[in-house]
């Protein structure tokens, strides 16, 4: 076990780049901000932020899989590298969306906090120790609370932030309690060592309690039913780029963190869901969460008229599939799950990007506000179609292969012979239901005639490039999944 600062410094180069970028954004705005228009301030912040993110991406790839770093506090394995890179790409997409969104009152702070949040995410992605994990999670969460409430002049934003904060704070408390129980039971903070210790002990009541605590926090982070209640309000009220970040990068990082926590860390007490019967462990809990999320997300989404709430419920439904991916990770490894999570992130961030642009051009709350998008802006309509169809799981888009891979992995556990198989069938059938609400969105965007007073939509160049890149990513990754699949 080595505690080399040199290696640590190399390992956290991306984090450093982000923090430096955030500080630069703030400093630049402090120095030059007074003389510039708010628009110029935003674009300067975005440029700096983007460069910081790009630098972080380059660093992250260049650093590569170092293995355990600094006495196992961080781990840079394949999953961590891919996950960090993915989160950073999603952050970049968020900035692109922010370029086309309504301008926040303090643009530099906004961008800086996005960068801080992203820093938290990539730390989460690499954390291998309970304390690091918790700190990273808190860094990310606190940033997100601020981002959700950033539009201070809007009640909805404040409401979103408050709800998000209350639920998030509670979840953090549970998680901390759970962590402390685990530490108390095993005397270890390092996930690998925890796994080693647990392998020799069965489930004790205290451990079960710890598992429940961890699961609650996980459910919150993943927006899985029944811990999803914050999601629709947060998605609806938060400024659009914030919502995009919450829906995509935050989820990605959260799944990485919890995947690492559950599979290597708590694998010994996983239990079994491939066969009927109660086996104990956390897998049945995850299965329950997955089933509830699938049902609630898909069915509630049918009734939505607000596009953001619809995306929120669809996110809950997708969380169900992701949890299924966690279950399937037992044999299939992280590949299918993270292929799913990352492409879902791109699609949903892209969708929020489109909504962000529309908000600046006459508002976009109801699904019907999308009416006639294909006339108002063929570019946005085309990109939205790609994102939504990917969310719906239509080939050859990435969302399809994600589902395909997760389902295939889940069925490999034991065919239809147990809860995992039944959940898979449920998920497959509900994906046909999901098509209905996704098509409702596309019907407005591509089929319906534009409203009387609607004007053509102006798309800022940066956002246009971002959205096209995201759509291109969805198509390319969908057609060639093997580009992404082996990275995790």
């Amino acid at each position: 076990m080595s505690y080399s600062y040199l290696i640590l410094a190399r390992a956290i180069l991306p984090e450093m780049a982000l923090v430096a970028g955030a500080l630069l954004v703030l400093g630049y705005d402090l120095v030059f901000g007074r003389t510039r228009t708010i628009k110029e301030r935003l674009s300067a912040s975005l440029w700096i932020g983007s460069f910081a993110l790009l630098a972080a991406i380059v660093d992250s790839v260049a650093v590569g899989a170092l293995g355990s770093v600094y006495g196992n506090s961080l781990v840079l394995d394949k999953l961590a590298v891919a996950s960090r890179t993915g989160v950073l790409v999603l952050g970049l997409l968020t900035l692109g969306a922010a370029a086309g969104a309504r301008i926040p009152r303090h643009p530099a702070e906004y961008v800086a906090i996005i960068l801080f949040a992203t820093t938290g995410f990539i730390l989460m992605a690499a954390a291998q120790q309970l304390l690091v994990a918790f700190v990273a999670l808190e860094l990310a969460s606190l940033s997100l609370y601020v981002l959700a409430g950033f539009a201070k002049d809007r009640r909805e934003s404040a409401e979103a932030a408050l709800k998000y904060f209350l639920f998030g704070g509670m979840a953090s408390a549970f998680l901390l309690f759970g962590f402390s129980l685990i530490y108390g039971l095993t005397g270890e903070l390092d996930l690998n060592r925890i796994a080693f210790v647990l392998a020799y002990r069965g489930i004790t009541p205290l451990l079960a309690m710890a598992l429940v605590m961890v699961m609650i926090a996980f459910g919150f982070k993943a927006a899985a039913a029944p811990f999803h209640l914050w999601a629709p309000d947060a998605y609806e009220g938060a400024p659009t780029p914030s919502a995009a970040l919450i829906a995509s990068a935050s989820k990605f990082a959260g799944f990485t963190l919890f995947y690492r926590l559950l599979w290597p860390g708590l694998a010994a007490v996983a239990g079994d869901v491939s066969k009927p019967g109660n086996s104990g462990g956390w897998l049945p809990v995850v299965a329950l969460l997955a089933g509830a999320s699938l049902l609630l997300g898909n069915l509630a989404a049918l009734a939505q008229t607000n596009i953001r709430r619809l995306l929120a419920y669809s996110a809950i439904a997708h969380a169900g599939v992701m949890l299924l991916g966690v279950i399937a990770g037992e044999f299939a490894g992280p590949g299918p799950l993270f292929y799913y999570v990352s492409t879902y992130g791109v699609a949903t961030a892209g969708a929020f990007g489109v909504i962000a642009v529309l908000e600046c051009n006459g508002g976009c709350q109801k699904i019907t506000d999308l009416a006639g998008l294909s006339r108002r802006s063929p570019l946005l309509a085309g990109c939205l179609a790609v994102f939504i169809l990917s969310l719906a799981g239509i080939p050859p888009l990435a969302g399809f292969f994600g589902k395909f891979a997760v389902f295939a992995a889940a069925l490999k556990l034991n065919g239809l012979g147990g809860p995992a198989g039944w959940l898979t069938v449920l998920a497959i059938l509900l994906s046909a239901v999901a098509l209905y609400y996704y098509l409702l969105v596309l019907k407005q965007a591509l089929v319906a005639a534009p409203a009387e007073n609607s004007a053509p939509v102006r798309v800022p160049a940066a956002t246009a490039v971002t959205l096209l890149a995201a759509a291109g990513l969805i198509v390319v990754l969908g057609v060639f999944p093997s580009l992404l699949l082996p990275l995790f």
């Binding site: 590949g335 294909s374 169809l389 239509i394 080939p395 050859p396 399809f400 292969f401 395909f404 891979a405 389902f407 295939a408 069925l411 490999k412 556990l413 065919g415 239809l416 198989g421 898979t424 069938v425 497959i428 059938l429 994906s431 046909a432 098509l435 209905y436 098509l439 596309l442 019907k443 591509l446 089929v447 060639f480 999944p481 093997s482 699949l485 082996p486």
Partner: protein, 499 residues
């Protein structure tokens, strides 16, 4: 043969090109669509001319696609696929001709249209279940937009219903093939690999997987009682789309039933065979009877499609080379004939008279106002009712022979279906075009309708020529189809799962 995959790529490229051309001018988009569709058709014919019938699938492309899941991009063709690919080319070309008058966002229309075609080609050429499924779903999505955007009566309802049924069906298929993949150890999605591996499955697994996959594909093939999307969808669709829908998209379902469900799970077929056959027969008879009492011209044709697809399913269910050869022939035949019928109803009549109510049409001396349409419809109707000399006859005859070999009572029920088809077709011919034949009603009493245009005539001639050619010389297709039925994969179908 090696050129066949280009039909897929060309169609998708044509879709993009048409989208681009549409921003300049509608004519350019039409031109692109026609050139693409006809070009692909030409490719299929060229490939067919060099086709040497053999018992197995002839591989066209086989490269690793997603090695982690044992997925290959494996395209292959045998006589059955070749038949359907040629049909696709023909129907697509004719469909473009009958969509010539689309003026609203022409570029987008043909983009969706060609994307659909590309997917259809892909399905017919896939020899890997994953690729098959991918192309299958690609073909479904454009249908929704074609109908919802350019359709007529109740279009959004029709489009949504169709899309949801299709996706519910494909969800079942997905569940079935993933289950099979997982249960066979998860090594490969190749059709032949899966079929070989499936021999190791338990009887229960085969039965379950077959049920999922066959039912899923059966929905799209219009299997009773899951056929209800078909009439509403067909009615709502614009002419070109309903031609494709009835002409080739329903064939996707039937082809999936044959290639995937039957080919991979022959034991499952053995179990479900009687149920499928009776559902098929119920479809033939029920849809026929419903068609007999419809008031809407297009609904009659819509239900007739369901009835005719019942013959295809019956042929498949009979599961002997005779019946399956007939089923494939019927797929081709129905593709051509349904296209023709929808073209007359949707394009030639509805867009001129603006009504499809038989009660309104009855009052017009339509055979004088639109003599060309009348002749085409009569010929298409005759073909549809299985009149000898047209392609429907050898197909239905072959199916009857095959069905008889499996179960005499099925064949008897199907024969009643033939009779019902004749009754409703005659009725609709009589009421629609020849509602007023008294001498007093001459063309001059009515406002003249716009004359039939050149593209319409060209399209009608193409399809008529095809149905007559195959009617008189069915062995043009049977020569391709029959050897394919001798492949090892099919052998196990005939023997109910015993390889």
């Amino acid at each position: 043969m090696s050129l066949l995959p280009y039909t897929i790529y060309l169609s998708f490229a044509g879709a993009l090109l048409s989208l681009a051309a549409g921003t300049r001018s509608a004519t350019a988009a039409r031109g692109v669509a026609l050139v693409t569709a006809a070009g692909c058709w030409g490719l299929t014919l060229f490939a067919a001319s060099g086709f040497v019938p053999s018992s197995g699938m002839q591989t066209l492309v086989n490269v690793p696609w997603i090695p982690q899941l044992g997925i290959n991009y494996h395209l292959a063709a045998d006589g059955i696929s070749l038949t359907l690919v040629v049909l696709t080319g023909l129907a697509a070309t004719a469909g473009v001709l009958f969509s010539w008058n689309i003026a609203d966002r022409t570029g987008e229309f043909f983009a969706f249209y060609l994307a659909l075609i590309g997917g259809v080609y892909g399905v017919f050429l896939s020899a890997d279940v994953f690729a098959f499924f991918v192309f299958y779903e690609i073909a479904i999505v454009p249908k929704y937009f074609l109908i919802a955007k350019w359709g007529s009566t109740n279009r959004e309802y029709g489009a949504m219903k169709l899309a949801l049924y299709s996706f519910a069906g494909s969800a079942l298929v997905l569940a079935g093939i993933l289950w099979a993949f997982a249960a066979t150890g998860g090594h490969s999605f190749g059709v032949t690999d899966l079929a070989r591996a499936a021999t190791g499955l338990t009887h229960g697994e085969q039965v379950g997987m077959f049920a999922l996959v066959f039912l899923g594909f059966g929905v799209l093939a219009g299997m009773f009682p899951f056929h209800t999307w078909a009439p509403t969808g067909h009615v709502a669709a614009p002419t070109g789309a309903s031609m494709l829908l009835a002409g080739v998209v329903m064939k996707l379902g039937a082809y999936g039933c044959l290639r995937v469900a039957m080919g991979i799970f022959p034991e499952g077929l053995g179990f479900w065979q009687p149920y499928i056959a009776w559902l098929a027969i119920a479809g033939i008879i029920y849809a026929g009877l419903v068609a007999l009492v419809q008031d809407d011209f297009k609904f009659v044709i819509g239900y007739s499609s369901v009835s005719h697809m019942g013959f295809v399913l019956l042929g498949l269910a009979a599961a002997n080379p005779q019946a399956v050869a007939g089923a494939v022939l019927q797929m081709f035949s129905h593709g051509v004939i349904a296209g023709l019928l929808f073209a007359v109803v949707g394009r030639m009549v509805y867009e001129r008279t603006h009504t499809r109510q038989l009660d309104d049409l009855r009052k017009l001396p339509l055979h004088r106002l639109l003599p060309f349409a009348a002749v085409v419809f009569v010929l298409a109707g005759l073909a549809s009712m299985g009149m000898p000399g047209f392609s429907g006859f050898p197909a239905e005859l072959t199916i009857l022979i095959g069905a008889w070999q499996t179960s005499k009572i099925w064949a008897l029920a199907a024969a009643i279906g033939v009779l019902i088809a004749a009754a409703f077709t005659l009725r609709v011919i009589q009421v629609s075009f020849f509602g007023r034949t008294d001498g007093a009603a001459t063309a001059t009493d009515h406002h003249p309708l716009p004359p039939i245009t050149g593209p319409e005539k060209a399209g009608a001639f193409l399809l008529l020529a095809a149905t007559l050619l195959i009617g008189l010389k069915p062995d043009l297709l049977l020569n391709w189809i029959v050897p394919s039925l001798q492949s090892p994969l099919m052998q196990s179908v005939w023997h109910g799962g015993v390889p």
